[in-house]
């Protein structure tokens, strides 16, 4: 086990009240595994990632309970929520790294790309400026960037979004982390660039054996990259399992709804059917009682789903789902 999150809760205090952004979330990532966390905006997936990095903005956010246990390179384990800031700094950028959705915004406008990649090498591997810059150039080259020497001397405003995401990956990969957290890394990019970035992440994974926590709302991306999928809704994990299984037999109606809302190619004998999940994701300020998904669920039953919060049930085959009517809705409801 590389990382295991137990009973994590994150609460935000806003002017309109407290919002449970993440509610007793538990999941684990094995060494070398790619886990995709899927969910709509506001489902708590990005906040979970920030909690792992210890960067939940405080105020207004606060981790109210839980453990985030990370196994370090030297074999020791560390609860990231309780580790000293010196330990956290030692892990950040070194053993756990992160890439964001808006790569251009994640690069400081006043430093060259090379300097920004070299920064963590100088910090964690105590490289000299010249050595770190040489390594940064090599890194850019290995990520398929042409003329890496020239690029290393460029400033962020001189490069495209796709190039910036490669630079972000180079920055994240500089110290060969054991876990890469990718928060919607392809969402802001063109479709063709998206594919390139995904294969780049796969390539890095093969080269270094790192694990990837891939946060996305794009199921197409999940199918391409993830070993396992965790679906989040209203701050909770609602379904989890191996990617193939989740795609072929989802057991939670929300997962089924997500899968059904992915557009598919139209052929003569199967016209395009694009179904959307009715309604909107609930406000984190007021999660519905009972099952948080019940107001949008076509299987919801009065007197049951709106009163009893469903437990996450282990289905035995590596899959787990949170639905009270799981036994009645058999075989991947759509």
């Amino acid at each position: 086990m590389l990382l295991s999150i137990n009973d994590l809760s994150v609460r935000f205090a806003t002017a309109a009240g407290t919002a449970d952004a993440v509610a007793s979330l538990s999941f684990a990532i094995e060494e070398g595994e790619t886990l995709a966390i899927v969910g709509e905006s506001g489902s708590g997936k990005s906040v979970s990632a920030l909690a792992i990095m210890g960067l939940v903005p405080n105020p207004p956010g606060r981790v109210t309970s839980g453990q985030i246990v990370f196994r370090r390179r030297n074999g020791s384990t560390e609860d990231l929520l309780r580790a000293s800031s010196a330990r956290l700094r030692d892990i950040r950028g070194n053993e756990i790294a992160m890439v964001f959705q808006e790569p251009l915004a994640a690069l400081s406008p006043v430093f060259t790309i090379g300097e920004q990649i070299a920064e963590s090498l100088r910090l964690h591997q105590r490289k000299s400026h010249a050595d770190a810059m040489r390594m940064a150039v090599r890194m850019l080259g290995s990520l398929g960037i042409s003329e890496p020497e020239m690029r290393a001397r460029s400033y962020p405003h001189q490069i495209s979004g796709g190039m910036a995401q490669r630079v972000m990956i180079a920055m994240a990969m500089a110290c060969r982390p054991r876990l890469l957290i990718a928060d919607e890394p392809t969402t802001a990019l063109d479709v063709t660039i998206q594919a390139e970035i995904l294969s780049l992440i796969r390539q890095m994974k093969e080269e270094t054996g790192m694990a990837v926590l891939f946060i996305t709302h794009n199921l197409g991306v999940v199918a391409q990259i993830a070993d396992r999928v965790a679906v989040m809704y209203a701050g909770r994990l609602v379904e989890e399992g191996p990617t193939k299984q989740i795609f072929s037999s989802p057991r939670m109606p929300y997962t089924s709804g997500l899968l059904a809302s992915v557009p598919r190619l139209v052929t003569d004998d199967s016209p395009l059917v694009l179904s959307a999940i009715p309604g909107e994701p609930p406000s984190p300020l007021a999660h519905p009682r009972g099952c948080a998904f019940h107001p949008r669920c076509r299987y919801a039953v009065k007197g049951l789903c709106d009163t009893t919060p469903p437990p996450l049930r282990d289905l035995g085959n590596g899959q787990a789902a949170r639905c009270l009517r799981i036994d009645e809705i058999v075989g991947g409801a759509t």
Binding site: M53, L55, S85, L88, R89, D90, I91, R92, G93, N94, A97, M98, F100, E102, A105, A106, L107, S108, P109, V110, T112, E119, S120, L123, H124, Y155, H157, M168, M171
Partner: protein, 315 residues
Amino acid sequence: MSLTWLSRRLLLMAYTMLVVAVLVFAITQVLPADAAVTLLGQNATPAALLALRQKLGLTDPTWLQFWHWLWSLLHGNFGTSMRTGLPVGPTMFAALSRSLLLAACSILLMLVIAVPLGVLAALRRGSALDVFASLVSYLGISVPEFVTATFVLVVLADRLGWLPATGYVPLSQHFADGVRHLIAPVLTISLVLIAHVARMMRSETIDVLASDYVRAAQLKGLLRRTVLVRHVLRNALLPVVTVVALDVGYLLGGIIVVEEIFAIPGIGRELLIAIQNRDLPSIQAGALIMAGTYAVANLLADIAYALLDPRLRYD
């Protein structure tokens, strides 16, 4: 920043100065001041006045007068003061050097106080320090400098007796005394500057702190201090350069009032005396030098900006 950019920028400055020269000349032309009357007094005979006017070139067509004036300006000759009979240039530049000392001290004090104050206020939003910084800012922005100056005089010089009330002692003559004479005017001028810059610094820091690149810097495992200095401060300072450059404009106006109150023989006071005495060459020189100072300050700000922000390294 390329040489072409710099030369284009210098050319633009020269053009600006030419326009300023035309304006200054035009304004002094319409002033109800007759140089001959100023020089010879009210009781001079018309014949003597005419002779002097011809000698001074005042009977020439206006464009020719302008040309003569501009030509001597380009040769560093600002004319002769009608009040003292001394060359205007050296007097004005000596006065300018005293004003620049005052301005430089004020800007320095401002940077030392306003930048940390703004950053700390941003880091501890809603704290007592933040409230205090806001209070100082509102005071500085809303209270005119003649009120601040009077207040500083009454408290520091009169009630507490810590400082000399007015006057100017060159630092080269008596350093400690010179510094003591500078404190009150510098405090007065820097309050407004501190107000502007602390506010700017606070809001910029808040914006930069929320940016993805600061988060990315934290995620590299950098020390909080390193993140603050290298990434937050460096980016938050950029717009402050512009504010400081714009404030030079304010300084030039404010300095007239402050120099008058504290009896400092700077360019502002010299200009005021020139106007009171209808000393045309001094007025022209004073106005031109002030405009020139502003233009140079803007150029320096542009260069500083280009050095600090790679996005503005115009090619």
